[in-house]
Symmetry: C2
Subunit: 472 residues, 2 copies
């Protein structure tokens, strides 16, 4: 996709067949893939928007093999793209042409849950669903959840500081990760897995690696905090007249002291698309401009409290509530099927933005004109995590105008003091717009950290800071 | 204290009178102090254990002056020690001999509270007490509190990732800090003050600078999240038979769903010392081996719930509860007066350690023998934040055996998988023991980050990684 091996200052490309053979000696020949028929699912992201042509895919079994692989690549001057479940949306795990694609999905160790500390250490290749099941088997739960749970890995979630539908309650991945083990660009293994709640003994290396998008290290193990299971859940789908009223409702529910666990916003056009795609009946007798889905979760039943709070809240046009699993799932479906329904309708331009919550209503009012100016006739389907001001903007019928649409929306976001990537990261797809929300001093500081830890630019060449290097 | 200017690789010491004159032109001559009579409170820490001999003390008024000061020092090759309220305990803000001591206490701007985001940006020199008052005037509160609140500054709290007595409820400083402005070693100003709850656009620079102990940058402004005010507070002092029973009581109260806000542990000898120092009556009819102070805080009264939970809890030998301000303060006094009472009794060897909570009882059982082995006849007064396994170990009558006592206790901590500095940081005082709990790969990674951001070792020379540089 980008990331040619001829960047100034980087070592000359090396290796080729000799490196492939050396990697085979480390991990076993059957775990080094070069045949394009076998590497397809590694080379191309799941949206099929991004693809790369790696030297090979290498699948080590444990930390020692990862370290040996990285050392061999460093010795050969071969760039390395690290990949987990390949569910990213910004081409951060899609290989640069000629890269060694380091797939960590075989690192699936599940260590025993530490019930006293309420923590567990797992391999980077463990899927989110398997981590959740492991925690639940010990009477606990994991605080992050998102739709790609069956494929997304703990290593990838950590490397991208994933968010998802529980951030309102438990925070993002950085709030869960208490320790990591990682292989640095020189092949050394760094580990900080103690998980002490307080430990002021130097720089926050764990926090730095979390969200570094595979550009500083290959994460091999992750220690996360677990949360108490919340057995009683109740979901409400609330019809509202727009973004502002949705925020009013959320504010009322928060003031009522409800145990909120999620607050998701979607709009009439998205719900229409979902209903048509999934053959769902209308949630209410009439259509409304917007819908707020809220979930409460706690150790005790809260349906009556939620109903009472909705009765008192400003901005509620109509509402429907469910506390049984099937009913809850049916309400969630209006929101969770958005991604599939959009993909079925075409190839969208996908943007993941945030603005300060106090400015969210004004931003959503300005968004259609910004999109129309860049791609007349395009359709914007918008949904997201309203508590954090985070909206996923999906623009259909604009694939030929992807760059101007992206540019228009992200400039609008920046004018609101927002983030051009709230959850998904920068990867190889968004680097050109990074200066819109990170100042030159910040970018220089990031480049210095990268240069200090990975002077040969071995990891994730072209990811995050790649286009900036090219611009120097 | 350490930090000679002749370290290999650092620029030659420069400046002297010419630098002092240049700094005077930047900040005004009366804000550059060289007379030892005027610099005493800056040169020596409040415990009087550590002192240094700076070239001068410079007191800039705003970010632009800080940037100019740092640039001038960089040009002259003069090391800079950054200082806030000078309440640290590990000599991190005590100047190296010949350093420019950069005091930021004039950066006292209080920006308006952002009630929608529940955040505020303040100058690095604002004291914790003033930040708390500013938040409370806007109907909110700040989540960190500690005894040095009238002197400790927001910049210092951030640079040291301070903890304190509310970590159980709100987390440490890193959990509050959502943005910083800082001056880097080349004099450039880096700012990330948007405070967006979600923003995956590169490395977590804010988290990296938090807890970096003045070795990477001079923090000039900090944006923090604020918390809802908790008007109803109730405090219990619980008599227990030891550390294990104290943990049992805490576990029972947590399981009862109480809105815990603090959980502090102290022991019979410490309470005796406090009673004698502050002329307090005995809290109970008889003495007990240990005392657990718990505070609950919430939007509603919880005294009855706390009494009921204490009645059910295992491990409660006796308990006294207060919900009126004077009664609460009287109970807190048994714990909070420890530091003063210890100082009045002599110059202690002060250690601030943490071990995994599940091993805390075993650790406290082994501690007396470890201290006695290093300093026969010494007295250990121990207290701390039991929820995080964090104990402040104060050894009296051992000042001539400070190094062997420190060594014995910290080696014991390390053998328990603990932290040699849970809250206070490493500073210039604890660097020799850092390898006990940070592996060589971690230390090398920290040195690479430091070298990337501050290649001339301008900031905090001798702090945190200083003794490691010397050991290379």
């Amino acid at each position: 996709v980008t990331g040619t091996a001829a960047d100034g200052g980087a070592p000359a490309p090396g290796g080729g067949p000799a490196l492939v053979a050396a990697l085979g000696r480390i991990v076993g020949g059957r775990h080094v893939l070069t045949d394009p028929d076998l590497t397809g699912s590694y080379r191309t992201d799941w949206t099929r928007r991004f693809t790369g042509d790696p030297l090979c895919v290498v699948r080590p079994a444990d930390t020692a093999e990862v370290a040996a692989v990285v050392a061999a690549c460093a010795a050969a001057g071969a760039p390395v793209t690290v990949q987990g479940g390949n569910t990213g949306l910004v081409a951060g795990a899609v290989p640069g042409d000629g890269d060694v694609l380091l797939s960590l999905t075989r690192l699936t160790a599940l260590e025993p849950v530490d019930a006293v500390a309420s923590q567990v250490t797992v391999g980077a290749g463990v899927t989110l669903a398997n981590l959740q099941a492991h925690a639940r088997a010990a009477g606990l739960d994991f605080g992050v959840d998102l739709a790609a749970r069956d494929s997304a890995t703990v290593g990838g979630l950590t490397a991208t500081n994933a968010g998802g539908i529980r951030v309102l309650r438990h925070g993002d991945m950085r709030a869960q990760v208490v320790g990591v083990e990682a292989v640095l660009a020189d092949g050394t293994v760094v580990a900080h897995l103690g998980g002490l709640p307080k430990d002021n003994t130097g720089y926050d290396l764990v926090g730095l690696l979390t969200g570094s998008e595979g550009t500083l290290a290959a994460l091999t193990r992750v220690r996360v905090r677990l949360v108490p299971p919340l057995d009683h859940r109740v979901v409400a789908l609330v019809a509202v007249e727009g973004t502002g009223p949705a925020l009013d409702v959320l504010r009322s529910l928060r003031a009522a002291g409800l145990p909120l666990a999620a607050a998701e916003l979607c709009y009439a056009d998205g719900v229409d698309l979902v209903r048509s795609y999934a053959s769902l009946k209308a949630p209410f007798d009439q259509a409304y401009p917007a819908y707020l889905l809220v979930e409460c979760a706690g150790p005790a039943e809260s349906e009556d409290d939620l109903l009472a709070a909705l009765g008192e809240a400003d901005g509620v046009a109509d509402a429907t509530v469910a506390s049984d699993p099937r009913g809850r799932e049916a309400l969630w479906r209006y929101r969770e099927a958005h991604t599939e329904a959009i993909s079925a309708a075409g190839v969208p331009v996908k943007l993941d933005v945030a603005v300060p919550v106090g400015r969210l209503a004004a931003f959503t009012a300005e968004l259609p004109a910004a999109v129309a100016g860049a791609a007349p006739g395009a359709r914007s389907i918008v949904f997201g995590h309203v508590n954090e001001g985070n909206l996923h903007v999906n623009v259909l019928d604009a694939v030929e105008r992807a760059e101007p649409v992206t540019d228009a929306v992200l400039r609008l976001v920046a004018s609101y003091g927002g983030s051009i990537s709230a959850e998904h990261g920068i990867g190889r797809a968004k680097g050109a717009w990074l200066p819109l929300c990170r100042g030159e001093a910040e970018l220089a500081m990031m480049r210095r950290i990268k240069a200090g830890l990975d002077p040969a630019d071995l990891f994730g060449r072209g990811v995050l800071l790649g286009s900036l290097d090219a611009a120097r």
